[in-house]
């Protein structure tokens, strides 16, 4: 095959004619994010659109383009970078992705793209659509909450007599990947495992098989796919003043895990103690604000009216408001209830549980008790949030790097391995 010259962002590159643009760019050291693209599926699926670029002046996914002489591609314009980020955010908003509770965490392509594109929160409202988990197949579990409908399994997994095991069913926002129970049972052990590995997320799980490896050893823990991976805070305040600052912290609908992580910086905590004083915080056990604070750090989202009041108070009393952890950002684990009506949750917990006696129990309600909200809300749905730190929990380094940067204008450089959702 002939070698062609093509252009990415005004730079000249060479690749074999007819090779896929995503691969050709990668060989030349240019990273184009992709999710559904799977080398040997031909023609490419073009379903997830994460690799959208401008090709000869038109928006098109890179995965459905092959190298031709003189091809002109725009990859890293601010608009395209934002667009691709939006697509990944859209997948997080559409599904119900609870990374810390997922078998695929650390080995998940979607999560990986989130890291590469530095998605710390989604701009879109989470849809919290109720999706049932299919436990009917003999060997597999279909976790529809996690499926991004990339179509890999539909096109790749067949029984030995050539029948499909997976197929799209329904249409529109109801579209999901259905699994054929009879055909699934015919798959060999290794074919089934292969299906699980092929899935870019944790939607296909084989019972009894685990992907788990220790943290740090998983596929996407340590190394970025990009040569120059860099995190920056663009609107970093310009403060040269190393005066002592006041911080307030709180855990709303959270588990205090983020607070634990915050304390998990070993001896550095002694330096921190020199530089900041804590006002209202579980660390000091100060219950009410005694002064205005430079920085408020919030863990957990809002599941009841008291959470809302506290959060509003934080906004009122703190110059800068930072939310840390998945729960504070969009609801996190407590938001698992968001796909189910509140009444059903309460009745299951208080009235119909195994230990409750018929007619003896009630759903707690008292004027002194906070009222439970219809769903768990992320903090930014209630107040304006200045900065978000993802993770469950975020790494201690991530938290303190943000704090130091926001309070004293310190240079901010976050490693790929410090940006995590689990």
């Amino acid at each position: 095959m002939a070698t062609c010259t093509f252009w990415i962002d005004g730079k000249k590159y060479e690749a074999e004619e007819g090779s896929n643009l995503v691969d050709a760019a990668k060989e030349n050291g240019v990273f184009i994010p992709s999710l559904c693209y799977f080398k040997h599926i031909d023609p490419p699926l073009g379903t997830c659109r994460t690799c959208t670029c401008k090709i000869n002046g038109r928006y098109n996914p890179a995965c459905t383009e092959s190298i031709k002489e003189g091809l002109k591609v725009e990859v890293n314009t601010p608009e395209l970078v934002d667009m691709r980020k939006a697509l990944v955010e859209m997948m997080f908003a559409e599904g119900n992705h609870f990374c810390p509770a997922c078998e695929k965490s650390g080995n998940c392509d979607l999560q990986h793209m989130g890291y590469e594109l530095k998605v710390s929160t989604t701009r879109f409202p989470h849809l919290f659509k109720d999706r049932l988990i299919d436990y009917m197949p003999k060997r597999m579990v279909m976790e529809h909450n996690r499926c991004i409908k990339c179509r890999r399994c539909v096109e790749e997994v067949f029984t030995s007599d050539g029948k499909r095991v997976f197929m799209y069913i329904n249409r529109g926002n109801e579209t999901q990947v259905g699994i054929d129970y009879a055909q699934e049972a015919k798959l060999s052990e290794s074919e089934a495992e292969n299906a699980m590995k092929m899935c870019p997320t944790g939607a296909i799980i084989v019972r009894g098989k685990s992907l788990s490896k220790p943290f740090g050893d998983r596929a996407f823990d340590m190394e970025s796919s990009q040569k120059h991976y860099r995190h920056t805070i663009t609107d970093k305040p310009k403060v040269a003043n190393f005066e002592k600052k006041t911080i307030a912290t709180v855990s709303l609908a959270g588990c205090f895990g983020c607070h634990m992580s915050m304390l998990d910086i070993d001896t550095d905590i002694l330096d921190i103690a020199e530089l900041v004083s804590f006002n209202k915080s579980p660390l000091t056990d100060i219950k009410t604000f005694t002064q205005r604070c430079h920085l408020g750090i919030v863990e957990g989202g809002c599941c009841n009216t008291e959470n809302i009041e506290t959060l509003k108070k934080f906004r009122e009393m703190c110059d800068i408001l930072v939310v840390m952890g998945e729960c504070a950002i969009w609801g996190g684990l407590p938001a698992m209830r968001n796909t189910i009506p509140l009444g059903e949750c309460l009745e299951e917990a208080y009235l119909n549980s195994v230990t409750s006696e018929k007619g003896e129990n009630t759903v707690p309600y008292h004027d002194d008790l906070p009222k439970i909200l219809d769903r768990v809300y992320g903090c930014n749905e209630i107040v304006k949030v200045d900065y978000t730190i993802p993770g469950c929990p975020p790494s201690p380094n991530h938290i303190w790097k943000v704090v130091k940067s926001l309070l004293w204008g310190e240079d901010y450089s976050l490693l790929y391995s410090e940006f995590k959702y689990d």
């Binding site: 997948m91 409908k149 329904n170 249409r171 926002n173 259905g178 509140l342 009222k371 219809d374 304006k384």
Partner: protein
């Protein structure tokens, strides 16, 4: 002849899989649903896994997996139906049948469902009962209909005959589509023209695809002609699903012959021997008319062997009926559907003229395009060019409905202004006009003096119109209209690509916020920017155009939105509906 008796009349060259859609239809019509057993049988018959059959069946909303009632009722829930009293009709149907929407009554006699636009926007509210049309409904009429059905009458016996409502044709006999028609007149000219001559005529007349994309017809046909495969297909796209559009219905009802003839001419020109009309399921009641016409053509020697006496030119036409999926109006989705698959648009690796139906060269054109071809050959390009304006010759059929006195079909000469059309149809206090359906262009009454033509889409001066005008007066709620559109796209997205599947869902949520008074200017800005993302990244035309109405109305109706939504809220607190957030919990107050 009843709908049920439709035979399976596949061409001998087609594979068995292509019959799947009509086989599913048979099951649906016979058993009112597609049972587990039917799925099993079809899977065995086609040697496919059951999930693959299920995948096809569940894609089309006229196929039900649960019994859908002895009589299946579909009420149109498009915005035009809403304007004419959809809510009341729905309520009456629910009361009279005892069925709630999306379910059947306890006895299983009636199944009540909604469906978007059934192509009867000029006689709303309308419904399909057992796929027969019922128009201009009111509470009393609904009551009578249900009474009669309960007494054992069939829907076929009591259905309405939809009016054509042809309201306007160009003065001085300048009509193209509604001139006297006699079968075979255009075909008779073929032997004198040769394929080159046909293409030349199309080129001179600048005929462009009337489905709304306006691709030059001669280019499409010429490209298909250049491929040398012995087997090629002509497909007539009669899946007119764009809400508010019903011009193809009128053409097929009024003069199916001109459409058939256009397909035959295409077959002769590109060297194809088979034609398929993909008729939307909503127009099932037109099947008999089409098949009768096909038979008449066969009897006259205009279909079959040596068509019109042309040696070695054989052509056959069959009708395939869709099953409720807007996206199948997209040509590659339509081809997938013809192949008995889910109607998912293909990627653009190949165009249908090279690899279309069954991966063979295929011409796909809209109903109106084929009819225009027939008329063009009949009158000659010299005469044809006298209509319209330079650069946009000819006439266009436009479906007009909404807030106007005379909803119906308007055959306008290209170049007519919006003002003239509004005047002709007796528009009442027009405020917001949606041109070419929800995926088209939104214009305000201020743009009255723009011309309607097929000139450059980007031109500010002209409006390219695929086929419909929906007129809304100043009392209509713009946000409500946009929500109706958005819900439509949410259901009708094929579900394959992220920006369309998730994007339309997200846009709907955002519009709900607007509707609940929780939005400020910032939300409007976000809405617009998300619309642009969907436009740039979606896989096919559906996703690329689904946000058009939102983007354009935000741009053109700035005053309206400014008056309704507070300026960008710089306060640190978000708008939050506290009482509705605790409403559910308050039920547990002792």
């Amino acid at each position: 002849m009843s709908i049920l008796s439709e035979q399976n009349k596949m061409f001998s060259v087609e594979p068995a899989r292509s019959a799947l859609l009509s086989e599913l239809w048979q099951q649906q019509l016979q058993h009112n649903h597609i049972s587990e057993e039917s799925i099993k049988d079809l899977a065995t018959q086609h040697q496919l896994s059951e999930i693959e059959i299920e995948g096809v069946a569940s894609f089309y909303h006229f196929f039900h997996r649960q019994p859908a009632g002895k009589h299946t009722i579909y009420i149109n829930n498009s915005i035009l139906s809403e304007l004419k009293g959809y809510a009341r009709i729905k309520e009456t149907f629910e009361r009279e049948t005892g069925a709630h929407i999306n379910s059947t009554d306890p006895s299983g006699t009636f199944g009540l469902f909604e469906t978007p636009c059934i192509g009867l926007s000029d006689q709303e509210p309308a419904a399909l009962i057992d796929f027969y049309p019922f128009t201009n409904l009111n509470a009393l009429k609904v009551k009578e209909i249900i009474q009669k059905l309960k007494q054992g009458k069939t829907a076929e016996e009591i259905c309405d005959t939809p009016q054509d409502n042809i309201r306007y044709t160009p003065a001085n006999n300048r009509t193209i589509f509604f001139a006297p028609y006699s079968q075979g007149e255009a075909i008779n000219k073929l032997s004198g023209l040769r394929p080159d001559g046909v293409i030349e005529q199309l080129r001179i007349a600048e005929l462009a695809g009337r489905g709304g994309a306006f691709f030059p017809t001669w280019k499409k046909w010429d490209a298909c002609r250049s491929f040398k495969e012995p087997l090629k297909f002509i497909v007539c796209n009669a899946d007119e699903g764009e809400p508010g559009t019903f011009k193809d219905r009128v053409l097929l009802n009024n003069q199916p012959g001109s459409v058939l003839e256009g397909m035959i001419i295409a077959g002769y020109t590109v060297g194809a021997s088979y034609g398929i009309i993909y008729l939307r399921g909503e127009y099932r009641w037109l099947v008999n008319k089409l098949e009768t016409e096909i038979q008449a053509f066969q009897e006259k020697g205009l279909l079959g062997q040596h068509v019109g006496g042309i040696k070695d030119f054989n052509f056959e036409i069959r009708v395939e009926v869709g099953a409720g999926a807007y996206v199948c109006g997209e040509e590659t989705a339509l081809l997938e559907s013809l192949e008995g698959k889910r109607g998912e648009p293909r990627t653009k690796w190949f165009y249908p003229v090279e690899k279309g139906y069954l991966q063979l060269p295929t011409v796909v054109n809209n109903v109106e395009t084929f009819a225009a071809v027939t008329r063009l050959l009949q009158m000659g390009s010299f005469e044809y060019l006298k209509r319209g304006i330079p650069g946009s010759p000819g006439t266009k059929l436009i479906s007009v409905a909404g807030d106007c006195k005379f909803p119906g079909i308007y055959e306008i000469e290209w170049g007519m202004t919006v003002a003239e059309l509004l005047d002709q149809c007796g528009a009442e206090d027009p405020f917001f006009i949606q041109v070419s359906g929800p995926s088209g262009e939104s214009i305000s009454a201020k743009e009255k003096y723009r011309r309607i033509s097929m000139l450059d889409l980007m031109a500010q001066k002209d409006i390219r119109c695929g086929g419909s005008f929906m007129i809304f007066n100043s009392h209509r709620d713009l946000v409500h209209i946009l929500m109706n559109f958005s819900e439509f796209f949410k259901h009708e997205s094929c579900g394959v690509c992220t920006p369309c599947r998730a994007g339309n869902f997200i846009i709907e949520r955002k519009l709900e916020r607007l509707n609940n008074g929780l939005a400020d200017m910032n939300d409007l800005k976000e809405l617009k920017s998300w619309g642009y993302i969907m436009k740039a990244t979606s896989r096919c035309g559906l996703g690329k155009t689904a946000s058009n109405a939102i983007i354009q109305s935000l741009e053109k109706f700035d005053d309206y939105f400014k008056a309704r939504f507070s300026a960008t809220d710089n306060s640190t607190y978000r708008k939050f509906d506290h009482s509705s957030a605790v409403e559910e919990y308050e039920h547990y107050k002792p």
